[in-house]
Assembly symmetry: C2
Homo-oligomer: 217 residues x 2
DNA sequence: TAGATTGTTAATCGATTAACAATC
DNA sequence: TAGATTGTTAATCGATTAACAATC
């Protein structure tokens, strides 16, 4: 099921693709049929050549003078990322992150992520609803993960619970963890982790701001 | 007020610093006095030389054979990032992101970010509380931003409102926007934007997972 | 002293950007 | 045809990694 081309693509390219997708879908809604790299580049403040390379990586092909067909390009990027068919996931931890992720149409529909169930350790949360989904107790995790063939887990618990809950996900057969906690989690070699590091993003903002301030004076 | 060294540091370095900080604070709590790059590298799965270079960028100095003094190193990184004194910010939009950011001690205390007020356009939210802070109407934004000398805005509104609210922040004198929406916002040249692109992170997870899957078979 | 570790310079690697031929 | 745009190869740039001398 894994896309063989995807694993060879440079990481910066992979991280840029979703922003192209977003803009292309906007163009699609507006009824535009073709788009050039220059056009995308202007919109996203990137280099047109870089975009052409990124698009080539996905297997998309354009026509000189005309550009790329918008719908075709969307399909190419989506199938490259594996976002055209649903990826099933479980979410652990009830809080703002959970809420935002599940109720966001861009993530749920646009990226093919389908959160099948929400789990929590806290008995107070169990039975309540998060964006229309009932919160289940952790005990049900292993059984459901196996029956539903889910192998992506979204970790959105408090920092102090992160490692413990990560272990539970892994023992339930989860192979990829999207980590929204601020804790570095230890996982076996065959488990993939992607950290959403909000502090790193804040550091980047501080730095860009510092650069902007000094360049003005 | 801007840190002059910060603007020269490579962006990858800046983004790694918060993870060092996190680990160092853990060591500090454990009462450890010195740490070597090798130790940090093992913990974070990075190259020791890279860490040494990153630390040198912040101005930290170690002693051969012994390593770096933990407390000194924390101070060095924090002051480099400008996180030792508070950065005042306003938050626009009441939802999961807002909740998570404000109530998270790592961000609020660890990064020196101090969210002074929360604003919203939706009359239903106004007057309610987010993590102990009253939600204020957008009309009060400009006046308060000027009086309190706030120039960082956290944009956590719905995608459809993103550009409109960004414009309001800018006209209130905000100079840096931490964008949690999925929309690319247009800003004047002198305004800094840092996008928290959750879809990019998901794409990275898909790619790493694909790579791991194929390497196993 | 010997070994571990820092600090720094040089080599490698990979990504971005530039140049340009092909083409509709 | 002329001009815009793709596709691709080469040049540049910057970050990572390797090598090694200095040092406690």
């Amino acid at each position: 099921m894994a896309n063989n081309a995807l694993k060879c693509a440079p990481m910066p390219t992979i991280r840029r693709l979703p922003s192209y997708l977003r803009f292309l879908k906007l163009l699609q809604v507006r009824g535009r049929e073709y788009v050039s790299c220059t056009h995308i580049a202007n919109e996203l403040n990137l280099d047109p050549t870089q975009i052409r390379k990124d698009l080539a990586t996905t297997g998309a092909a354009g026509t000189p003078k005309i550009g790329y067909q918008v719908t075709e390009l969307i399909n190419s990027i989506e199938s490259f990322l594996g976002w055209n068919d649903p990826t099933y996931a479980f979410l652990v931890g009830v809080n703002g992150v959970a809420d935002t992720l599940i109720s966001n149409p861009e993530i749920q529909k646009g990226c093919g992520l389908d959160v099948l169930a929400v789990f929590d350790d806290n008995s107070a949360s169990i039975g309540s609803e998060v964006a229309g989904k009932e919160v289940l107790p952790m005990e049900k995790l292993t059984d459901l993960a196996k029956r539903m063939h889910v192998h992506i887990g979204i970790l959105a618990v408090s920092d102090s619970q992160a490692q413990k809950m990560s272990d539970k996900l892994i023992s339930a057969g989860i192979k990829a963890i999207w980590n929204f906690t601020h804790t570095k989690i230890d996982v076996p070699e065959d488990v993939t982790v992607e950290n959403v590091d909000i502090a790193a993003s804040l550091a980047a903002l501080s730095a860009k701001r510092a650069a902007a301030e000094t360049s003005l004076s």
